[in-house]
Symmetry: T
Amino acid sequence: TDLPAEATRDISAALAGLLADAFALYLKTKNFHWHMSGPHFRDYHLLLDEQSDQIFAMTDPIAERARKIGGTTLRSISHISRLQRIADNDAEYVHPQDMLAELREDNMRLTAAMRQAHNTCDEYHDVATASLLEVWIDETERRTWFLYEASRVPPGRE
Amino acid sequence: TDLPAEATRDISAALAGLLADAFALYLKTKNFHWHMSGPHFRDYHLLLDEQSDQIFAMTDPIAERARKIGGTTLRSISHISRLQRIADNDAEYVHPQDMLAELREDNMRLTAAMRQAHNTCDEYHDVATASLLEVWIDETERRTWFLYEASRVPPGRE
Amino acid sequence: TDLPAEATRDISAALAGLLADAFALYLKTKNFHWHMSGPHFRDYHLLLDEQSDQIFAMTDPIAERARKIGGTTLRSISHISRLQRIADNDAEYVHPQDMLAELREDNMRLTAAMRQAHNTCDEYHDVATASLLEVWIDETERRTWFLYEASRVPPGRE
Amino acid sequence: TDLPAEATRDISAALAGLLADAFALYLKTKNFHWHMSGPHFRDYHLLLDEQSDQIFAMTDPIAERARKIGGTTLRSISHISRLQRIADNDAEYVHPQDMLAELREDNMRLTAAMRQAHNTCDEYHDVATASLLEVWIDETERRTWFLYEASRVPPGRE
Amino acid sequence: TDLPAEATRDISAALAGLLADAFALYLKTKNFHWHMSGPHFRDYHLLLDEQSDQIFAMTDPIAERARKIGGTTLRSISHISRLQRIADNDAEYVHPQDMLAELREDNMRLTAAMRQAHNTCDEYHDVATASLLEVWIDETERRTWFLYEASRVPPGRE
Amino acid sequence: TDLPAEATRDISAALAGLLADAFALYLKTKNFHWHMSGPHFRDYHLLLDEQSDQIFAMTDPIAERARKIGGTTLRSISHISRLQRIADNDAEYVHPQDMLAELREDNMRLTAAMRQAHNTCDEYHDVATASLLEVWIDETERRTWFLYEASRVPPGRE
Amino acid sequence: TDLPAEATRDISAALAGLLADAFALYLKTKNFHWHMSGPHFRDYHLLLDEQSDQIFAMTDPIAERARKIGGTTLRSISHISRLQRIADNDAEYVHPQDMLAELREDNMRLTAAMRQAHNTCDEYHDVATASLLEVWIDETERRTWFLYEASRVPPGRE
Amino acid sequence: TDLPAEATRDISAALAGLLADAFALYLKTKNFHWHMSGPHFRDYHLLLDEQSDQIFAMTDPIAERARKIGGTTLRSISHISRLQRIADNDAEYVHPQDMLAELREDNMRLTAAMRQAHNTCDEYHDVATASLLEVWIDETERRTWFLYEASRVPPGRE
Amino acid sequence: TDLPAEATRDISAALAGLLADAFALYLKTKNFHWHMSGPHFRDYHLLLDEQSDQIFAMTDPIAERARKIGGTTLRSISHISRLQRIADNDAEYVHPQDMLAELREDNMRLTAAMRQAHNTCDEYHDVATASLLEVWIDETERRTWFLYEASRVPPGRE
Amino acid sequence: TDLPAEATRDISAALAGLLADAFALYLKTKNFHWHMSGPHFRDYHLLLDEQSDQIFAMTDPIAERARKIGGTTLRSISHISRLQRIADNDAEYVHPQDMLAELREDNMRLTAAMRQAHNTCDEYHDVATASLLEVWIDETERRTWFLYEASRVPPGRE
Amino acid sequence: TDLPAEATRDISAALAGLLADAFALYLKTKNFHWHMSGPHFRDYHLLLDEQSDQIFAMTDPIAERARKIGGTTLRSISHISRLQRIADNDAEYVHPQDMLAELREDNMRLTAAMRQAHNTCDEYHDVATASLLEVWIDETERRTWFLYEASRVPPGRE
Amino acid sequence: TDLPAEATRDISAALAGLLADAFALYLKTKNFHWHMSGPHFRDYHLLLDEQSDQIFAMTDPIAERARKIGGTTLRSISHISRLQRIADNDAEYVHPQDMLAELREDNMRLTAAMRQAHNTCDEYHDVATASLLEVWIDETERRTWFLYEASRVPPGRE
């Protein structure tokens, strides 16, 4: 690449943080997918499966993008632990509605982190990384929308 | 075609009405698909997406059928407005169960309109248009069935 | 095959019983799929459709397995009636939650019957039939899990 | 649907009878598929497999059609037994040519039953059910043709 | 089939006539496809290829339908010659616009012949043959529409 | 989303306008697709079909994008009528070249409206909406190019 | 093409003859496919269907090859009649084994005609036509092999 | 692998024997496929083609399994000759029914050899090799069933 | 399921351990895939990509199997950290041959852990979990074989 | 290969010339594809796209064929310039009909060059290169035919 | 388009330069793909094939983008020669490692040229061209990464 | 076929020899595929797998070609042994580079044998067999090229 060394350093760092968050959110989404219960079982089980697939699909491109600009990326489970900003949830039982609400929060947090990384890219004119982030922000906002509407309770009747 | 001129005139007119209704119902179904909320969000969001796809798939064949028998068909958004018999619903918030109930009524209305168009075709022995209508009546009755059963509330327990 | 005659006799008998159960469970699952109602209509309608497809997919391999080891298999609807251990349910109305609960019980019963058939195969070293049963037990336990979690009611809020 | 209540009652009843026949014929065709023998083994084994697939493919649409017009449908194996008009055949050995001949008769019987159901639909102007029956009559006549020609013995030479 | 002998005789005869016409029209359409010329070469070459494919796709089902109801069908090129009502055109050069116009006429003639065959089927209540004809009439009217519009010359400007 | 409320308000409004234009342009393109005539019939019929498909493919993503950032979107045919800036054309006959010229103008107008919406997104740093618009601008410019070159008349010879 | 005029004349003529034969053989193979009977019904019905598909697949390339070298090709059913060397068979009943034998002879005759056409191409160094003929000769010899072995009667036992 | 050295030695040896048998049976099945004759030509030609495909599909996994547990496998045609237990048959003419009978015996022999190899795996707890053998035993028993039923002669009539 | 409570407890525990190892090995394989270098770059990059895909494909089935027998499974990144037995490697630079060697060791360790879990399943007659493990052991031994042979240095010449 | 050294030399040289011509013709065809205009815009734009795809598809096989017989092939854009016999056309505006005419000439020139290369192959008995050339000659003659007929002007009427 | 004339002029010029570079780099990558040698032959042969495919896939969109904004683009091989900035390499033998190193440099040069073109687009607010360039920059950086790592020699051991 | 008896005899004999060589080369290529080792393990393992697939794909067409011209073909493993001209290699260890070199020699030998068989076909004007050989010669020369370049050692640096 023809980007300066600081660009490589700062953008790689931003991408490593996003990658750690993506893996942490992937595992939490899977956790809730596996431990779902209640009358909406199949519907939410599928919803979280689709969302986890979409999150997982981001991971390899994030890591490879860091490599393409000459940086390095994540190396291990413990490396994820050190960098992740999405909190773990090891509770034995989580109410289905709480699962959706918690993931909604986490996805909103991820959107903010991505927008911040986009700023870093803008600063260094790394238009290619920025372009990838634009797609992922759109996807993350879609997941947030679904989780938001699914956790709204309609007035009265049901 | 070898059909008489009145056949072309009357059947084209019937098809134009159905086409306007189909577009109006398509947009309402999409409206509810986009603005759905509540615990059944994903399930109903998908249901209405499938139904809107099925309704949309009717539009081109309806229009082309009118052309095949030598008639003309719809030309614009305002043309739809003038012909549609399915009422618009621009309310800011509609309760999910009310969405299903309203669409059920609209689909039943569409079935009746199609059966009437079928009679017109029978009168002029336009067996090809009739044959297409038979498939669309079946599909419309299926959408009605789904919307009907989804809005029945089981006694007591849930 | 090089299995002894008693192996053919006993394993074919076990497979015929499983096949009758599979057809009976298939039809009951379809029955509930067709007569489902309530706000979860589409979700449960699809769930039972997937489950009935999976049950149906077992039937031909069960029958052909009996033929491969030199035995015979089911011949008619009345033959099913005589052998089936899954009870029929001809009620006019069944509450959606009761549908799920009844199928959960039936699938657990089928798991137990399959595990017993597996023992018969072990006895005669019929490793090929045993291998097929292992896959079907896994599938049946998955159906049971889904039906179980879908009928658990989360505390309080919904 | 906008059909009168008697239409729903009579057409559902006709469809339930056809569904029971379809399941009974499906199982008999499978029975002969599984227990076929002789030099034509593979050829007839495949023929009956194709035919059983085609028969099975009718079952869900028949049942759903009854639901779409507001009726109910079959519920269990014993329900099939009570309604089926295709006779069971539990014989230990059936000659291959007799298998073909018996199925040919059964398919002809099914054609007649379908044509009768078509008349019921015509009476109530249920054009959608009628349209589905037209396809199934064509298929049943094709199965009959194949079974008929396959059981004709050419003069002399073979 | 359970249709009377006269039905078999009359409907088979009608189908044989249609089949001869279909083959004759197929070959003429191919003839023009092969010998097309002028600035619209590729466009018309493709148009006639699509139309010939659609015509050819009718031939096997027409023949098999006659067999399904117990009749026989065409046997040779000379058999086609004797029955065809679509005239041959062996001219060395045909103007592209004349090609389209001639085929439009031929397709209109075929529509009329099909509608007549449909009447024969109605008479004998052969609903399955009638149902197939409805689809082919629709397709033939579509080919006529395309050929008609393509040979209209817009006023003045081009 | 983490965008401020004015961003949601202004971008949703911009998207609703574009969506109304997209539906209006879709219907006009279809109108001309259905009522095309002349020696170029098939060629232009296909061209407008491809263009209408491409326009239609934008509609759902435009609507869903508004939802993802917390806004609402179109609700009905009359809602389109109120917002659309693409003029309807209900003329009985339009010359083929005029059809192309009118659509070219409409597509250019749409490009300008999209570029304006892009500015709004830039203002609020909504990089995800901006990214989608970039693709649609490219597509709209491609449609314009095709319509432009197809309506240029080469000097003299043809 | 850069071939001399006599090459175009002679090779086009040879191809027209082959095309007429191909259509005549196609129709005879279909004739026997439609009117097959006896215990081998399905097997031979399928065999002749595959063979007729393969023969039909040759027709367009033969005709287009004549066009590519600047010649013309077949124009109508009667044109086929005048050029075909494969004899028609309009008999009401043909014994299955006689069907296979007759087609075997016809295919052998076609092989000889193709090899002769190949010589004509060699003479004029038309390597491209020759190359196509090589593939079709191989296919025709394969059809002959199948028809030959299928009509050999094994000694004694069956 | 973590299996002991004797396991590698004994299981590799068993797999090499099975691989030699598989290649020998593959070639004999192909031999009969190529040299088949008689009225059942196409049917048996296809049957043996399917069976040879299934046998061939075993060969690479058998060889690779030996490599996975640290052993070696077959190296040449002569290596096959030394290890194969399926006898060659180079006769100029074999009656179709004798072909089926001989292959049935060979497949039964292969089943026995596989079951013995399964015992060797059980002894060393090599559960992965055992699992593969279970699938191949099932397939081999299926081939045996087909060959057995196809060579049974039904009483009297044909 | 019909397994006793201790079976659920012990098998779930064994599966949770395997799942943690699978995720840890997945990430290490990806780490080496991302940070590979040297003349074999593309070859090893692809090798590790294929292996990581295969490892990842195990994770959902392992977790779901625990759920099917009534147990729970992993919940977070830190949960993986607590259970994993595959060591992390966060070194800045690892020689390509050392990467292959380290992964070979890790895969062998995983094989042993799986065989131990298989014993636990045998103890409780959980044949379905055992059957899944057999496939994964085979895959893990294949990965080990590839890594082993790829790190053997041939004598002398290269 | 077992061909003599002069064969490698002469055939490689012939192939290099053809490859240069293919690239030059590819670029000219693309040039006209990109800069097409007039009422036939879409039709000719597509025609030239198909032709350029077909030309491009020849390039890798031509180059690899030279390598297979031990020769070398083209190395750069300037290498093409030195060897190409198809003239460049950098004119700002070319009339659509002139575009077709010029390409027709170029394709005829390419046919002649290929036939000459075929003679070289015949001389050295390089049957494999010859066989590939036969396919490309056929394709080139097809492109010429299309370009020829598309540039013929029908008498009078249009 | 609604861009000013200078935008069309400057962006088209930038795109023409990139297109010439893309063709030149395509041919050089193919050159090395065809003339590769050494123990890594297949691996590098495939690597360069993938890279040349990716480079070629850019060419049509670059040219069409210039057309969409109203500009013109490349016309011939000599036009490429005049504009290309990637140097040709016609050497008889190039060491495999030198091939990779030279292409790495060329790709880096292309990245810089693209980023410069991106600036031109930004200046004129041509967001659609900019968006396409972002994808191609990412791809070019990926090719550079692969070529860079593949040409790093690991210390000591191999 | 219409070829003379000596043609059948001589060409069948030539094909049988080629078939034996093809099977022998197939097994040797597989042998080296299975027993490959060293840093290039995966790359060569895949190379030989592709080559063995290509060789295997020739076998059925060679055998069927002999049958199509009325000859017979191979019957057993020992029949291969008697006819093969490719030597077996049962060595315990073969150096990777020696594997490639040996296969290169074998493929060159096969090319020569095929060219000789082509002469035999030319003599009898069996153009169809000749045509098939041309494709296989090209493939065999390609395998030789790959094996040759992969075993060339670049000077000095690696």
